[in-house]
Symmetry: C2
Subunit: 433 residues, 2 copies
Amino acid sequence: MTNTVTALNTDEASAQDIGAYMRSVGQAARAASRAIAAAPTDAKSAALQAIAAAIDGQRERLKAANAIDMEKAATNGIDQPLIDRLLLDDAAIDRMIEGVLQIDKLPDPVGEITDLAYRPTGIQVGRMRVPLGVIGIIYESRPNVTADAASLCIKSGNACILRGGSEAIESNRAVAQCIEAGLAEAGLPAGVVHLVNTTNRDAVGELLKLNDCVDVIVPRGGYGLIERVSRESTIPVIKHLDGICHVYVDAQADLQMAVAIAVNSKTEKYAVCNALETLLVAQPIAAEILPLLAEQFQAAGVELRGCDQTRVLITAEPATEQDWSAEYLGPTLAVRVVEDLDAAITHINDYGSQHTDTIVTANYANARRFLAEVDSATVMVNASTQFADGFEFGLGAEVGISTDKLHARGPVGLEGLTSQKFVVLGAGEIRRR
Amino acid sequence: MTNTVTALNTDEASAQDIGAYMRSVGQAARAASRAIAAAPTDAKSAALQAIAAAIDGQRERLKAANAIDMEKAATNGIDQPLIDRLLLDDAAIDRMIEGVLQIDKLPDPVGEITDLAYRPTGIQVGRMRVPLGVIGIIYESRPNVTADAASLCIKSGNACILRGGSEAIESNRAVAQCIEAGLAEAGLPAGVVHLVNTTNRDAVGELLKLNDCVDVIVPRGGYGLIERVSRESTIPVIKHLDGICHVYVDAQADLQMAVAIAVNSKTEKYAVCNALETLLVAQPIAAEILPLLAEQFQAAGVELRGCDQTRVLITAEPATEQDWSAEYLGPTLAVRVVEDLDAAITHINDYGSQHTDTIVTANYANARRFLAEVDSATVMVNASTQFADGFEFGLGAEVGISTDKLHARGPVGLEGLTSQKFVVLGAGEIRRR
């Protein structure tokens, strides 16, 4: 394993150059992963504090680098929401520093041994929590992800390869310099965090091929990015493709609570993966609650698309089959009247994306069944879907939300970047079959 | 989702027929997975007991079916070890029944809620252990795997699709009929367990494409099978490719213990994935221990392949670079003298297959570092590598041993066939950002 990254002239790089460069990045990250995996908690803490201090000390440089990205974005006519996410002003820098320091305060998951118990043969068997190794993170636009993702990886004992959006390359380079300075100050190798130093799109394809150097890929971004990564990667991926979240208003729901939860789940933020997309209402309560809901959603400017039964009770566009699996990420909501809890669970398991689903009910048995039988990463009773978030769940920062079933489901924090190996302590035991 | 499996004329099936058949199997398994996921512990227990009773009651039929497979195997000139594994006599049937009943006695992992704690917003957040859904298991020759794998899936609340070796098809069909009878007696749908009812090789390729119906693939068999499955599958795979296991004899090892562990790790069984393949010896102890080891291995008929330093001290063939990453699965052992603990850890992490590695030492600090820094599924101190096994670890039966880093590492029992989702309990909380 080499620790030297191949030099890359980013302006004139050929496909072959990019391949060689990415391979050298992968090998350097693999080599550094052993050092960070074995690093004690205080060294990791020193690095995170030094990174936060470096970001604080380099504000002017960060803002200058960001200004170049912002100007290019304006010239290229990039969408306003994207430009908003790109901006690195003092408030954004404060949040970035705060994020790094919050991760520093989380307990170190690495090395925790659980369930250590004696077996009849005399050996003790337990599990030790260990880093995954090298994490590849592919993300778009927001430069704060660079500091966030690097900090999560450092704290969880992983090396990482960060591939940010090309529109944020100057900002990301400036943040990466602060990270490098922080690692150096703590005596940790710079190779623990690699920012892919090219905007060439081939770099993503090459990253997804580094099976022997990268243990897991985390794509953070729009559907197109995540779909591409899932399709191309032969490295395991932690991802969510869609967030088709449901609120089911049970027949025995408190009307006021149901309205508050449904409205908050939809309108608190529209363009987030934990936003409500399909509202299910139990038939016995539909006539009573749908007009109340319609009034609130109308006031909020949300367009409703309803099933036939819904449209008898309130004004709504007709919903098509496609609406039941639509992720609007905007002020549109599908509404369906279902017969009962069974029908609601079946609808969610058939059409949902296994992200986050809520029942609003006063019925104990129905709450219990919904929790057990809805097969989603997060299942809630009487709470807004918008709570599905690493911070709200007490995990600290999250590297993403997973709708996969293996490994981590739901918000992925420090623990999701680790796994458990078996440890066996003996006194010379041998096996006789 | 349909629950009807397409009929298949196994003698004249076309590629298209196989595709349609496997898709119908996948859909039927997906539909049945919801029923088994929601099944209470006592229903699953009733099914396992009824399966054990059916196997016991159908001994003559099982032996008759097995006789057909055995005769075909003899005619086809199949290897003796494979024929041995194929045989279903009364002793093998007893072990099969015992296996099913042992799985019944294990605690039900499904539905366990852990870490349920209040958050500042008032919601309670915890994790619930849930089945993965549909497990595809691809295995070779041994018909007892059919009962074992099906029982593990039933107990862990999963549906499964079992693709056994073509040489065991009649035996597997007979076992599958017992499973079907047991499920029916317990009132569970027959679709919970599907035996792929064709020996056509295309069925494996089709199974690996059923992304929307199958949640995880577990290949159990030789290198060729596992390598093919890893390469072709776009469904997550729980697997181990190689078992290149190490024993490292530290400078401060007890000589007698080190010899006993090294010899047992290699010779207790040769053709198992947890058998020792490369022995590492610390330089300061090499002159003293290598002759003792050589004597024992020579007596056991093990051929030694040593590094230059080894060959100064004992008689051994010269080891090549290839020997450090060889999985002999037979009476051959690579031997290397290493400078110290650091060199041993580096060798293991560079050449090993992240399966099972042991240090023999009396030094506390070295034991602690070896446990933390060797990046393998199972890391041991002063115990034989041959202990790496689900039964020995107290997991009950195992569906396989994983050397992957995500999800389950090491022996995969009931817990490895489940994952955890988040559950949130609220009283009408909504989120304000």
